[in-house]
Amino acid sequence: VKPDDSVLWSRARAGDTEAFGELFERHGRTIYNYCFRRVGNWAAAEDLVSIVFLEAWRRLDKPLPSGKELPWLFGIATNVVRNRRRAERRYAAALRRIPEPEADPNFAEDSDQRVDDEELMGRALEFLARLPRREQEVFSLCVWSELNYEDAAAALRIPVGTVRSRLSRARARLRELGSAVGHEEVGMQIVEEVIE
């Protein structure tokens, strides 16, 4: 049986780097995708996921409510993305030491898909950028990363009611903007999942 996040977190807080590495292995992909959905670039997301976990290690001294480890990582990722240049500057040396990726036999196909992803994400982010930053963050966490209200509140350290109201405002504005710019005409599908 694998230990749950809070056990790994406690071990990491006690200085167990392998426990922290296990948390990375468990949640790295989730945070990687969240970072991509915030910046629209896979290579940048790869750097950012490293920064998020390095930053998380730096802040391990405070205990967390059990089960809120992943939301907390989302919170750190949100801050890192918000102040990306500063974070990249702070961890520039560590980023330079990241080894080159190993050769991937499926590189060409994967690379094409990723280029398409970036184009699609770029358009979505351009659209989302018309919202105030607070609403963008809530929308990105709740809709694109599928966090429930409580976890989004823990990530952003705001009350659950505030998450609800910001998300509601974000949806209303996006509907308004969508009809104003007629985004269906450019062939984008409409997808959003029910999270309540």
């Binding site: 590495g21 290690w57 190993e102 992803d117 699609l120 997808v191």
Partner: protein
């Protein structure tokens, strides 16, 4: 559900094998950081050696105090900020190094530009504002200015930030996130909490916090000031940085040095250089990578370098903000090189005076 917006790409794995590679890198970095915290300075010394060092330290202190008293008589204090190098004979700020307690970068209420403020445990409050102040260097920049707080003043300022700001590592809810880099009014605050400097990412009342940090004279009691008089901050060391500007293709260090006047190239060639990489973002637009090389020089070396560059009639660049020159790379398609000087601050870093 039909109230959504654009589709987004599906979640993907990291490229093959990359997750494990990054995990290994992460663990290695953490171990590296932990080891570097155990610097030789923190190794406990044995009794006799400790006593010897204490005696030596006391003797050194006596010498320092005596020298400082003697020098104080002849101290050349500047009451006006300056851009670039200090006038000949100006007395550098002491002590040469200091521990940072608070750092602020952000708006300066009442003026258009940004402010940067650094507060040190020794009481120094150093500021640089893009503003027209009577004590400032010019109408666009104050240059680096210095005031002195008492230990009580430093603690009042620090605890003000701690109490009204919410430190990044606190999981408790409350307050609002400070404006990020891509937003108008971007704010960066770091404050000492125990043995660490931690970023403040949220505040209960951002406006009040900014007002308190940028104008401490408006609320700190008289007892918080050791010397309220504003004077220029005179560094002991400068950084000289050079690289392609505006960001284009990075230019090799050796190539840039070969293009500088011989005396300047020779001086810098013999120095260790630090590679600085970043992005040039203007009004939220990313205009490319910045690659620069920086070396440390004394005031006298900086003066000699600047004289050489002046002598070659290099074009001054952004002279209202910092001592900086640029020139075109011969035979290139208009590629430019910039070389500039920045004063080192007591915590061993330098700031970008021309960044707004």
């Amino acid at each position: 559900v039909t109230d959504g917006v654009y589709a987004i790409p599906p979640a993907r794995d990291l490229p093959s094998g990359r997750l494990l590679q990054l995990r290994e890198h992460l663990v290695a970095e953490i171990v590296r950081a932990r080891d570097s915290e155990r610097s030789p300075a923190s190794v406990r010394l044995r009794g006799s050696r400790r006593r010897k060092i204490a005696v030596l330290a006391l003797a050194a202190l006596v010498v320092v105090v005596a020298t400082a008293s003697a020098l104080a008589v002849r101290a050349f204090v500047l009451h006006q900020g300056f851009i670039g190098l200090p006038p000949q004979g100006a007395t550098p700020s002491t002590p040469e190094s200091g521990e940072l307690v608070l750092h602020y970068f952000g708006p300066n209420p009442g003026v258009h530009g940004k402010s940067r403020i650094w507060v040190y445990t020794d009481g120094r409050l150093i500021s640089l504002r893009d503003a027209d102040y009577p004590e400032g260097a010019n109408s666009a920049s104050t240059g680096f200015l210095e005031q002195r707080l008492t230990p009580e003043g430093v603690e009042l300022l620090r605890s003000e930030v701690i109490s009204t700001g919410l430190l990044a590592h606190e999981p408790a809810p409350g307050g609002e996130a400070l404006p990020g880099e891509t937003e108008p009014g971007y704010i960066e605050i770091e404050v000492r909490d125990g043995d660490r400097l931690v970023p403040v990412e949220r505040a209960r009342d951002v406006e009040r916090l900014v007002a308190r940090i940028t104008d401490p004279a408006s609320w700190l009691p008289a007892s918080a000031w050791q010397d309220r008089e504003i004077r220029a901050y005179v560094p002991s060391t400068f950084a000289v940085c050079y690289g392609a500007w505006p960001p284009a293709q990075p230019i090799e260090r050796s190539r840039i040095l070969s293009l500088l006047p011989a005396a300047a190239g020779d001086l810098l060639r013999g120095r260790d250089s630090m590679l600085r990489e970043g992005r040039f973002v203007l009004a939220g637009q990313d205009l490319g990578a910045v690659v620069e090389y920086c070396s440390d020089v004394t005031i006298e070396e900086a003066r000699a370098l600047a004289q050489t560059l002046d002598h070659e009639r290099l074009e001054p660049f952004m002279p209202a903000s910092r001592l900086s020159y640029r020139f075109e790379v011969p035979g290139s398609n208009g590629d430019m090189v910039q070389i500039y000087f920045e004063p080192y601050l007591p915590h061993g870093e330098f700031a970008c005076s021309a960044c707004g």
